[in-house]
Symmetry: C2
Subunit: 496 residues, 2 copies
């Protein structure tokens, strides 16, 4: 079943989204090893050339940023980029019915764009070695375009955004969706996540290079190499690990016929009837979650956020918990790049972001949570099994801890399919890294989850990523990281 | 491909939503005629018993409603139900960059629920003969449950909502989605549209009855019989007109194999590769529309809405255009029902809501518009080809008229597939009816649409209705009305 609009490589499935089989069959994915040595050398070179030095600065001493004397809000003189304001939250979700907090208000929709091409059966992505001050390692591998509207309309009077034109009126769009970022830190922020295919010759600017999809998946195994924006965009790519999920344009044979008994990846995509729940059930579960809880978020002046204090030029919670708003001065090792100052969000302790995976009907299912966060665009987004700052919970009795935290922390090593530290958005978060984990549970783990949780198949997760504001950024990051395990069969009883 | 969760009648399609084949094959749909005489007799009886008499009342003389002296907002003393407030709108969409208007603020999510059952291969729906003061005809056929949260939490101290319990923790959910209502009148209002299946015996309360799906589709051909809420819920049902789209549980044969060459309805659903655009293209078109336009909506006190005036106890535009906010006193013919007063929205002139349909790749495609409305939840929803108050435009030169208006108004009778007057929500709108039309265009009609328009197949429209806030209420109404034509082949060159 190929469609008739000239995209012969696209599998159109009834009533659903299309699956671009080339991502699944990209030749290099099916070799036994992929070299990333040259990519890492390239990254090291750019880290040496362009790393940032950061120093803490008082919020009152930032250039072009002001703490508004009446409201305490932190804003850029141009009125663009973002502001840090207050919100008061009232909800019947969770243990705390009412609180106030600082939040980042960035109403403009930016673009996170990835250019891809096919070369001799290998899918390649044009990535950038981009310095962002908050990143661990400073320079990380980033999408082709990562631009706020302030960037690309050049409010900052900087250079034009490279490759932006490929994402304006693009012809071959593979994915294009508005996605949220951290709902606990951003007020309804959304970026446009785009994957666009190019043919022909694309000039490669210094600081950019083509890497294969297989290389990106290997790089995702490493700590703090692939930045958050690229992880978010990559979550829109769906793949299976076996060549039997081949193109159908030439044969016309739906790959599902060819694939029973092959890897769990392939079964997840092509045998949706193995999913524990129908789409109608999942959509109803999500609709119910949105009506179950009240969430009222009122914007308030930041200096009216109770329990938050300005002290020594930074804003923090009086208990020292949660996060702080700090000022940072940035100096680049590259002497041609001017330094600047800006506010950032600092968290002292690392968080844990994890999916539990269970084999149900012989395909992997991921335990998903309908999570309410203050900045969510629509009350609830589908979130990982565990998403928390572990320090806040490690010493609490188990019944006060986040659900399923122990199942992740106590998992035997043989069940840990993925574990790495990844940085959150380096333009806003000061050296914030979280531990991302995918942990398999044993067969005796209960199939009936606790309230607010549901088991979704990989195909379902990937389907909902195509729809705006269904899957939160932490879960999307994990879906991208999951691809790092593509050479494994996720339902194998014991992993080599 | 049936799923394995016990719903043997559900067709699971890869990566997509399920299609419940029973709605397509409901036996009575395939007889040549369906009698609605007894349903109309039942409706007449309830109209005689329970019609409302309306009288205009000053907004200052409503019981339990107040015009707030400081803001001019109109609100209920309990703080519940809804308020009429002001908004100031700034946008680069359309011809008017900035305006203020009254808007209905009803933040609570209500339930519009339809109970269905299968009896001897016939799908039946439990409907209510419900009086709503603004309806033309007063009593119209309504869903099983139509309740604001204020209703079902009994703020009004009235009776409990019948059948509500079937929609709380339901087991067999066929559809469950948050949907918008008129974005030009409501500020981000949403209702939960639910279809729930019941087995066994359901007691039928006075004022309710079972009608078959085929009867409902016949009733949709009549003016002002099926109310807006039921039209909205019915849009979640998908069907084809030929029995060849049969259940697959027993045979395991995907119906698409069985159906080439059958009706355009069946081809639309089971041959998605005939759609002009892939889902990726449609989603990208929608994402682009949401980033193309700025829409800023600020809530303001109603008495600060420029060009709107309180006069003789009603609020209207100083040019007499658009709509008014009036007070209404309601007396029921049923002496056991107490009278009440409330504010309503009155529009003097009827509107036109129409889809143009064109056969492309031998299946019908509907010309859809990405329409920005002030009260939209997410900037843009997919809307009919034409949606306007015709009086405002009939005398304008063609280039100032809404796009495609002439193609609808000048269509030859042989191309009019559907035309009827339907009422908008009778609890808020005072006798507002719009003309709903589905008009086929000839083969020489351009396949490349104007800006902001796209041709979607029936299967695509029905798919997006399963996802919150994708298809606006006017388009959903038309999709329901379209079902009234289910015995026709929409791509027939000449209709009998």
């Amino acid at each position: 079943m190929t469609n008739n609009n000239g995209l012969g490589h696209t599998l159109v499935v009834p009533s659903g989204v299309e699956i671009d089989l080339r991502f699944m069959t990209s030749a290099e994915l099916h070799t036994t090893a992929t070299s990333i040595a040259d990519v890492l050398a390239w990254l090291s070179e750019h880290r040496a050339r362009n790393s940032a030095e950061l120093e803490r600065v008082s919020l009152f001493e930032l250039d072009n940023w002001r703490v508004h004397p009446g409201t305490g809000n932190v804003a850029h003189d141009s009125g663009r980029f973002f502001t840090i304001e207050g919100v008061r939250v009232q909800t019947d979700y969770g243990l705390v019915p009412r609180w106030a907090q600082p939040i980042i208000n960035q109403p403009e929709i930016g673009i996170l764009g990835l250019l891809v091409r096919e070369q001799d059966g290998i899918m390649q992505c044009l990535v950038q070695a981009k310095m962002e001050p908050g990143n661990i390692g400073s320079v990380q591998i980033s999408p082709t375009v990562q631009a706020t509207r302030s960037n690309y309309t050049r409010v900052h009077r900087g250079a034009a955004t490279n490759y932006l034109e490929y994402f304006q009126n693009p012809r071959d769009v593979i994915a294009d969706v508005l996605q949220s970022e951290q709902g606990a830190r951003f007020l309804r922020k959304r970026n446009r996540n785009m994957i666009v295919e190019v043919g022909g010759n694309v000039p490669v600017v210094d600081g950019y290079r083509w890497v294969s999809l297989a290389q990106l998946y290997e790089l995702l195994k490493l700590d703090n190499v692939v930045n958050m924006d690229l992880r978010s965009v990559l979550s829109s790519v769906s793949l299976v690990s076996e060549a039997s999920g081949r193109r159908t344009a030439s044969t016309g044979t739906p790959p599902k016929e060819a694939m029973p008994g092959t890897s769990s990846w392939a079964r997840s995509i092509f045998q949706p009837e193995r999913s524990l729940h129908t789409y109608a059930e999942v959509l109803s579960w999500l609709t119910n979650a949105k009506t179950l809880f009240d969430l009222r978020v009122d914007r308030i002046p930041l200096n009216e956020a109770e329990h938050w204090r300005m002290k020594d030029g930074a804003i923090g919670h009086e208990d020292g918990q949660f996060f702080s708003v700090i000022g940072v001065g940035v100096t680049s090792a590259d002497r041609e790049v001017a330094g600047w100052t800006q506010p950032m969000i600092a968290t002292e302790h690392e968080g844990l972001i994890a999916f539990l995976v269970k084999s149900i009907n012989d395909i992997p299912h991921f335990l998903c949570h309908s999570r309410v966060e203050a900045g969510n665009f629509d009350i609830v987004e589908i979130s990982p099994t565990v998403q928390c700052i572990t320090r806040n919970y490690r010493n609490l009795p188990v019944d006060k801890q986040p659900k399923y935290l122990q199942a992740v922390l106590n998992a035997p090593a043989r069940n840990v399919l993925y574990s790495a530290y990844q940085s959150e958005e380096g333009g806003r978060f000061y050296r914030q890294q979280n531990r991302y984990m995918i942990v398999r549970v044993d067969d005796d783990f209960p199939v009936t989850p606790q309230d607010d949780y549901i088991w979704l198949s990989l195909g379902q997760l990937q389907h909902f990523i195509r729809y705006a504001n269904h899957i939160n950024v932490e879960a999307r990051s994990l879906v991208a990281c999951l691809s790092a395990t593509y050479r494994n069969d996720l339902t194998d009883p014991v992993l080599s």
